[in-house]
């Protein structure tokens, strides 16, 4: 068996081993690979920078743990960026398989541990920020499109109480947000189709600006909405998350300290993805070279 045949019939376990090592090593020893900021990501950063302090943004956690490595860092970056700019943040969750816990975990990762029912409402990371005034978590609502439609002017009908069961009217920020008119834009961190619903329904019917942070596998579809202007910004997969995290870290070094303290962040994920992409690309090229050589040989009857 010559080298080309050996390559064609390479035991897949070697490939698994390489991919496994490529996934683990960069997490333990970050490579800090560079990122090129793309236009759709820059658009989100610029929009957040352009808002006046006190304006409200809504972050919808429309994904579960399966896509957490891609979507979690997006949530962290947008919440941290908004709080650093003194914007106010309303967090909701519409994804049934774990969205509710993802939202709480990412919010607490950014602001510190919370226990509003027992009076723990001050943020550990942002000492001047308080739950209910500067940020709030409305919780999860089933029903997807119907919930989005109702939220346009009946926010309190969809979310009568926050995640912890306290009526929204008891919080300053809860009272203020009655519908989409009260938010500067909606950021959907989405897996699957929910990001499309925000564009199709909330942007198209109510004119609310929408940005989406999607998984890489959904990104090609979302580019059509971005190009059509139905989304003003798009974070496409881990790369988009890394670009945004990079922009935020450059402008706000104090936030870089926070994200660097996380066991996992977009930068580390980007290192992993880049190395794994390199391995896959290399093996695709090797596989094709071997395939072409073999085919030529067969044609020549060798």
């Amino acid at each position: 068996m010559d080298m080309m045949e050996r390559l064609m019939n390479l035991d897949r376990r070697w490939l698994y081993l390489l991919v496994g090592l490529a996934a683990v090593i960069p997490i333990l020893a970050p490579l800090n690979l560079p990122v090129n900021v793309s236009r759709p990501v820059q658009d989100l950063f610029d929009r957040v920078e352009s808002l006046e302090p006190g304006e409200i943004i809504m972050v919808s956690f429309d994904y579960g743990p399966s896509t957490g490595p891609e979507n979690d860092p997006m949530g962290d970056a947008i919440i941290l960026h908004a709080l650093a700019r003194d914007l106010r943040v309303v967090v909701i969750a519409l994804y049934p398989l774990g969205g509710v816990t993802e939202a709480r975990e990412e919010l607490e990762r950014c602001v510190g541990d919370l226990d509003p029912p027992n009076g723990q409402i001050a943020s550990e990371r942002f000492p001047d920020k308080v739950y209910g005034r500067d940020f709030i978590y409305f919780g999860y609502k089933d029903g997807g499109l119907a919930a989005m439609r109702l939220m346009s002017d009946n926010m309190h009908e969809v979310f009568p109480a926050d995640f912890y069961g306290t009526p929204l009217d008891e919080y300053e920020l809860g009272r203020e947000v009655q519908g989409y008119d009260n938010v500067a834009f909606v950021m959907s961190l989405a897996t699957g189709i929910i990001g499309e619903w925000w564009a199709n329904l909330v942007n198209a019917q109510f004119g609310t600006p929408v940005a989406v942070g999607c998984t890489a596998v959904s990104a090609p579809k979302y580019f059509a909405y971005y190009r059509a202007g139905q989304m003003f910004a798009l974070l496409a997969g881990l790369k988009g998350a890394a670009e945004y995290e990079f922009l935020v870290s450059q402008k706000y070094p104090q936030l870089a300290q926070i994200t660097d303290s996380f066991i996992y962040n977009a930068g580390k994920g980007w290192d992993v993805q880049s190395v794994v992409y390199s391995i896959i690309t290399l093996f695709i090229i090797i596989g094709n070279v071997a395939f072409i050589v073999e085919r030529r040989r067969q044609k020549r009857g060798m």
Partner: protein, 220 residues
């Protein structure tokens, strides 16, 4: 009549009222109020549908277990997991303890952290290995179409790769062009086609032409 015409009438009104209210404003906004009520109902029905799903899951899997059908241990495990997760979840929702041992919130959070998240993450992570293996074995230039697909994939993959971009700095622009022009055009066509299909299917339901959701055959 009650089995056929009445549900068809309900479906027609449930679909037609929100559509009309989107285009027409009536005195006192009655149509909008009705639409809002219908949407409230939809939220409630969506929750009830979840319960229906659970009942259905029990019916199917209990039958599998009782007849010792192929894969019945999996069905048993599925139902056990469902019962445990639901018990902990309900204990969390009602603020009670589970068997007087764990607080409902602690137990549910434990299920989330120790089982649900790692299992979901593991399932999804396996894709990286399978995609790598499949790309190596199946992504071959067998014909012109496969060659075009391979070229586009390589440009996209290399265009987001920091190592490759250092050597070939034009790659990000090429990647952006592929994503923004041919990809967006093709995706737009697919999305518009799917939307037209969904609209025509909805219209068939509203007009009572499509009745399979009632369990009726064609012509019934």
């Amino acid at each position: 009549m009650y089995k056929k015409q009445f549900p068809l009438l309900l479906a027609f009104l449930g679909g037609a009222i929100p559509i009309i209210s989107f285009f027409i404003t009536t005195p006192g906004d009655r149509l909008k109020v009705t639409t809002d009520t219908l949407q409230d109902w939809m939220l409630i029905i969506a929750g009830a549908a979840l319960l229906l799903g659970v009942v259905n899951l029990f019916q199917i899997n209990l039958r599998k277990i009782s007849t010792r059908a192929k894969g019945w241990p999996n069905a048993l495990w599925l139902l056990l997991s469902l019962v445990i997760a639901a018990t902990f979840g309900l204990a969390d929702a009602f603020g009670t303890s589970v068997f007087g041992i764990w607080g409902g919130d602690v137990a549910f959070q434990w299920i989330q952290d120790a089982a649900f998240k790692p299992l979901q993450a593991t399932m999804f992570s396996l894709l990286a290995f399978y995609v790598a293996s499949a790309a190596f074995r199946a992504f071959r230039v067998r014909n012109v179409e496969a060659g075009i697909l391979l070229a586009a994939a390589l440009i996209i993959m290399l265009g987001v790769n920091p190592y490759a971009v250092k050597v070939l700095p034009f790659l990000p622009d090429a990647t952006n062009w592929i994503m923004n022009i041919p990809n967006a055009a093709a995706q737009r066509g697919i999305i518009i086609g799917a939307a037209l299909g969904a609209a025509s299917f909805s219209l068939r339901i509203l007009l009572g032409i499509e009745r399979s959701y009632l369990g009726l055959q064609k012509g019934e």
